[in-house]
């Protein structure tokens, strides 16, 4: 029998009681009034869980409101002996490490599932999105992109008309929406599809071309992305991931948000290889239907794979070439390797050139390829070339004169 204090959970009053352990039960009595409660030892829990003080011991019944405060050392010792769940947990450092490991594993698994799941979901979500919404997005994105990289109007009216005709030829007849191509004034050779059926090619790309077939290949490839709604899927995936990670982490520690940003950047670097393969497949179909040789696709991939602005790839050189291979004069932050197709479609990232491709040295390039926006270019070139064997008769997509006109599409009058 020891004295203890009971707060009975019905009023705020403190009540002195007697407490004793009797056959597996903690019996609480009021002197002279009888039993107030019988609390089975197995149901006892510490109130104020983190309280490591030895004395007093605060107890409640599991799920109960009443609290018993025991100060008598003998009773405390007996309770800790009889009800081990009341003992303070030992080895806090060990527990911390174990918890740390467990939590890390769980979050890693969670994030991994997200990385796998979201891309899978993004395709169907994109296909279900109404095209009119995608076109609206495209208008906004185009406005943002052209504010950074101006449109080429140029005196090359003929060039623009030729590009337009080629685009129309290569668009699948069953595709009900308009596909148009715009030319942006910037040195880096690049081509990407914006939401809503607009394809952007750069003047750098026009300079880079060695044949009309190459241009046809590039356009057909981008058209492939358009008609399969890859652009929308990529937006859904990138934004979805970013929004989700941002919300979930609550912007808690600044380190977590750095991780979130890195994660988002990594995802946004590229289409999945599956998407690229699909776009290649459609490109080859369209080229074949229009009797254009797949050699253009192959040679373009091979040449662009080794392109860098310092121009040490021999296949880059053309007599009298000026554009590529020059260093950028006005210090703009352009990458020295092709950016991901469609990456520039994310308006936010237009100012920041993607990824870490600022160094043009070999080690940097190797790292760049790892984060690469165009994985497996050489294989894709080979695959295209292999198809050439069972191709029918072909005609060049553009005559040399027409190619010259296209290349002048971005010159000022």
């Amino acid at each position: 029998m020891s004295e203890a204090l009971l707060f009975d959970g019905q009023s705020a009053r403190a009540r002195p009681v007697d407490a004793a352990i009797e056959s597996g039960v903690l019996v609480i009595r009021v002197p002279g009034r009888g039993e107030l409660g019988r609390w089975p030892l197995r149901q006892l829990r510490r109130a104020m869980i983190d309280d490591r003080a030895r004395s007093p011991l605060r107890l409640r019944q599991k799920g109960g409101a009443a609290v018993l405060v025991v100060e008598d050392d003998a009773l405390i010792a007996a309770l800790l002996e009889a009800a081990p769940q009341l003992r303070p947990v030992g080895n806090p450092l060990g527990r911390l490490l174990w918890r740390a490991g467990l939590f890390s594993a769980v979050s890693a698994g969670f994030v991994a599932a997200l990385y796998l799941g979201l891309p899978l979901a993004s395709g169907p979500i994109a296909k279900a999105t109404p095209y009119s919404l995608e076109r609206r997005l495209g208008e906004t994105v185009e406005a943002t992109v052209t504010s950074v990289f101006p449109l080429c109007e140029g005196s090359g009216g003929t060039g623009h008309a030729l590009i337009r005709t080629l685009t129309e030829r290569l668009t699948p007849p069953k595709w009900p929406h308009e596909v148009r191509t715009i030319v942006l004034n910037t040195r880096v050779p690049n081509a990407f599809a914006l939401p809503g059926g607009t394809i952007a090619v750069t003047s750098g790309l026009l300079d880079f071309l060695e044949s009309g077939d190459e241009l046809a290949a590039v356009l057909a490839h981008e058209i492939g992305h358009v008609v399969e709604r890859h652009v929308m899927a990529k937006l859904v995936r990138d934004l979805g991931l970013y929004v989700f990670l941002d919300s979930v982490s609550g912007g808690a520690a600044s380190a977590s948000s750095a991780i979130t940003d890195a994660a988002a950047t990594l995802t946004s670097l590229s289409y999945s290889r599956a998407f690229e393969r699909e776009a290649d497949r459609i490109a080859l179909e369209r080229l074949r239907a229009e009797e254009i040789s797949p050699e253009g696709l192959a040679s373009f991939f091979e040449r662009i794979a080794t392109w860098n602005p310092n121009g040490d790839s021999s296949r880059n050189r053309r007599p009298g070439a000026g554009a590529d291979g020059d260093e950028d004069e006005d210090g703009e932050a352009e990458t020295d390797a092709p950016k991901s197709e469609g990456e520039m479609a994310d308006a936010e990232e237009t100012g920041e050139a993607g990824g870490s491709g600022e160094e043009a040295q070999s080690p940097g390039e190797r790292i760049w390829t790892l984060l690469s926006t165009h994985p497996g270019l050489k294989e894709r070139a080979q695959r295209a070339r292999a198809r050439a064997e069972d191709w029918g008769p072909t005609r060049p997509a553009l005559t040399p004169g027409e190619l010259r006109n296209v290349k002048r599409a971005c010159l000022d009058g």
Binding site: F7, S11, A14, V67, F103, V243, I259, T260, G331, A347
Partner: protein, 377 residues
């Protein structure tokens, strides 16, 4: 330590606040919380917060008996998940849609953004009310729990309206808003079946507020007179440049040289001038609000001062700065100890007549406040 709660006495008892433990005990917990939060990309924050609260509540005593926090990490995590799905993710999508669907800086976009902002403001106040309800319901003293009654919706509506009024009155309505909103919350606060009362008003706060307000205007005015010219011309020069032009270094240096004293002045204003003025009002406000809060026969008294508040804030800012945020629990402990140290209760409370609360315990409540980042502690 031994509980000195009145033993068996019937009838009213006086209340005395006390504290146990040392602030530095929290440091180990702070580091562990930080580590685990990073490793879990922030998910651990719910358990981290719970542990800090348990410590804070447990080291605060009334009549020698500590407060008890009975919330769990799982509860607030579940609440967060709900808020995530129902509100936060759609909100995030809306934010991004705002950027992409409307042409930048078009009237439609501005209108939509304003509407969204107002909506979020409303929801944030609702979240604050619900979060407080949760916190109170998980706070026990001598086995009786606190509670908050009432709906968050009228509170949120009024809060949004008052904010609007404060803006159009250039801030003069603010003390009235504060008194009204505080009154609304406190009158809906219960300890067991005992209801808190609040009898303060904006008028009581206004005089002190007005003084600080005038001082602020004076300070801002002198800043404008002293530095307005150079600031404006510096910005005008910078914005007149074409966007991708590279300035020669000497030009940049010249412009910066012009603007630098102005920037320094702004810094001094923001870090030293304004906070110092408002620290004194803050202390006055705290004391006023406490003085006009009562529970049955118990009235509260608070003795905060402007100088001690400045000292507290300064210390906390340094702590947060030097530990890059890891020391947040330590700052929270300092804050709590400040409050309790300066809080007194006069009068008596009939403990026996204070019965257990019958207010239903909210099962959720903090998720939204966590997601919108409006949690007080």
């Amino acid at each position: 330590m031994a509980s000195t709660a009145s033993t068996g006495g019937t009838g009213p008892v006086p209340l005395q606040f006390g504290q146990t433990g040392l602030a530095r005990e929290i440091i180990g917990l702070a580091i562990a919380n930080w580590l685990l939060s990073i490793l879990t990309l922030g998910i651990y924050r719910f358990w981290a917060r719970t542990r800090v609260r348990r410590y804070l509540w447990g080291s605060t005593q009334l009549n020698g008996e500590a407060l008890e926090y009975t919330g769990t990490g799982w509860e607030i995590f579940a609440s967060f998940l709900m808020a995530l799905v129902v509100f936060l993710l759609p909100l995030g999508a809306l934010y991004y849609a705002l950027t992409y669907v409307f042409l930048p800086a078009s009237p439609e976009q501005i209108a939509a953004a304003a509407g969204l902002y107002l909506g979020v403001l409303f929801v944030a106040h609702y979240a604050i009310y619900r979060a407080r309800a949760y916190l109170l319901s998980r706070t026990h003293w001598q086995s009786v729990r606190f509670a908050q009654s009432g709906s968050g919706i009228p509170y949120a509506l009024l809060a949004t309206l008052y904010l609007f009024l404060s803006v159009i009155t250039l801030g003069l309505y603010a003390p009235f808003a504060k008194a009204r909103l505080t009154g609304r919350m406190r009158r809906n606060t219960w300890f067991g079946n005992r209801r808190f009362a609040f009898h303060g008003s904006g008028g009581g706060l206004f005089r002190a507020f007005f003084v600080s307000w005038l001082l602020t205007i004076a300070l801002l005015g002198s800043y404008a007179v002293l530095f307005g010219g150079p600031m404006l011309s510096g910005f005008a020069e910078l914005s007149a440049l074409p966007p991708d032009m590279n300035l020669p270094r000497s030009e940049m240096a010249r412009i910066l040289g012009e603007v630098f004293p102005a920037l320094l002045g702004l810094y001094a204003l923001a870090i030293f001038g304004l906070p110092v003025i408002w620290a004194f009002y803050n202390a006055y406000e705290m004391n006023y609000l406490a003085r006009h809060t009562s529970l049955d026969g118990v009235s509260l008294r608070m003795t905060a001062t402007g100088l001690s508040l400045i000292w507290l804030w300064l210390g906390n800012m340094l702590i947060l700065g030097f530990t890059f945020g890891i020391g947040l629990p330590f700052a929270q402990v300092r804050l709590m100890r400040y409050w309790i140290h300066r809080l007194d209760a006069e009068g008596t409370l009939d403990l026996e007549a204070t019965l257990q609360s019958e207010e239903p315990q909210p099962r959720f409540g903090e998720g939204l406040a966590d997601g919108l980042d409006v949690l007080p502690i």
